[in-house]
Symmetry: C2
Subunit: 259 residues, 2 copies
């Protein structure tokens, strides 16, 4: 297995840093290839601007079109090209990050904004009245799997079905479904650690054991069964879920998970 | 009315730029005070790191604690202090941004990550077994209102209740509820423009009219009735919604909206 770990935390001696280090050592010991994109160590440029598209940048700037033109011309910046190459190399992608304000840190969002260009991650395949692209289950990154490994300051009941923060599956849906499933990645159930700010060194052995177990079973773990766009579940071109497909009472993001 | 506009788009001659300009001129013409945080023009630092907390940064860095210590010591960086001052000055906050990968651009997330420090936006009030802070309807920014003005590349049905991208209200929930309602801001229903990438100059007059109408009725618009944490709807300290409060069939994020 070829694993890319995308890691976003400013402190190497953090829980996130320890989980990233453990992922590298555990996977390598098991014979897998591992590459790491340590966004803070790379001083990753988080902000999309005209300099990303060099000679392909329009005036005025058009982010989707210009990113697609630069992608097709091979003139994206070297940092972005390197990340796209790693994604194509990988068959497993692990994201290690803290949940800040109910979503990923800005540096990781900036990795998505800059690396997931038009023609690479979206705007792929035929777009017409009968087909709306290869996306949500198809696309450039099909055949790959991903896992979010997330540390959360709050407590688990606050993220449960009736918890005040909203269910963790719904909070992660825009990342898991909208960013990863969209270009074809299969997404495994996340590894979430709650109460991270209250943990001490004494808690780490149990956490490490659970994390190792997840890492060593990545290949046999069933992905979240997100519905695929072009296989009969949706009306085209309205892209609304056909009536009657969902289990009784299911609404919202959960509609887009089968079964 | 004192309005702060937080604007996040790299191109001044974009739809977002035009909407921001129109908001400034419309509100000022109506006699309101307006300040703008143009994050790209300010070259806003998007990434949280130890340099944000100067002498208050621990080794190893602890983002929540260190940000709270720097806030209390008055030693946050001048750019962050300026934004906190603007938030305290404002009674209305308008966010103007494009939806990129189903959430805000990295530069705007970085504004949240850096400005919404511990002790300013969270970690406020008594935290005990009977009270879990002043949050979700109370907090430092209570008495203020906010509005998201969002441009979306995709089409409206794709963001409807059964649309493949998920309902727009759910996609915006982590921002509207998790980031804004949390420190006490009342959130107005968003102004969302779909199909933004397909719009032409000919579409703009109608858009401008709709946007002006929203801007001139901000003070009389009813906010989204998000439930408040400390007023009887939630069990303490599990912070789960009490049984029976929700309308039949409502699940997920929608549980946290009254009525």
């Amino acid at each position: 297995m070829k694993t890319l770990i995308v890691y976003a935390h400013p402190e190497p001696r953090s829980l996130n840093g320890s989980l990233k280090d453990l992922a590298v050592s555990t996977l390598r010991s098991a014979g897998h290839e591992v590459r790491v994109s340590d966004l803070y160590a790379m001083d990753w440029k988080a902000v999309v601007d005209a300099s990303d598209y060099g000679p392909e940048a329009s005036r005025p700037l058009k982010v989707p079109l210009d990113s697609g033109r630069a992608f097709e011309a091979g003139t994206l910046t070297p940092d972005v090209l390197a990340e796209q190459e790693k994604l194509l190399w990988a068959d497993m992608i692990v994201f290690q990050f803290p949940l800040w304000w109910y979503t990923m840190p800005a540096i990781l969002k900036g990795w998505v904004d800059r690396v997931f260009t038009y023609r690479f991650a979206y705007g792929v395949g035929e777009h017409s009245d009968t087909k709306y692209g290869e996306r949500y289950g198809e696309g450039t990154l099909a055949g790959r799997r991903a896992l979010l490994s997330v540390t959360v300051g709050g407590l688990e009941p606050h993220y449960a079905a009736r918890g005040i923060n909203g269910p963790i599956d719904d909070l992660l849906f825009p990342f898991q479904h909208g960013i990863l499933h969209y270009p074809g990645v299969e997404v495994l159930p996340p590894f979430v650690l709650y109460g991270a700010d209250r943990m001490t060194d004494e808690d780490f052995p149990d956490i490490a054991k659970a994390w190792e177990q997840r890492l060593l079973t990545l290949e046999s773990t069933e992905p979240i069964p997100f519905r695929r766009q072009n296989f009969g579940d949706y009306e085209i071109p309205s892209l609304q879920l056909k009536e009657g497909l969902e289990p009784a009472g299911r609404t919202g993001f959960g509609l887009h998970v089968r079964g």
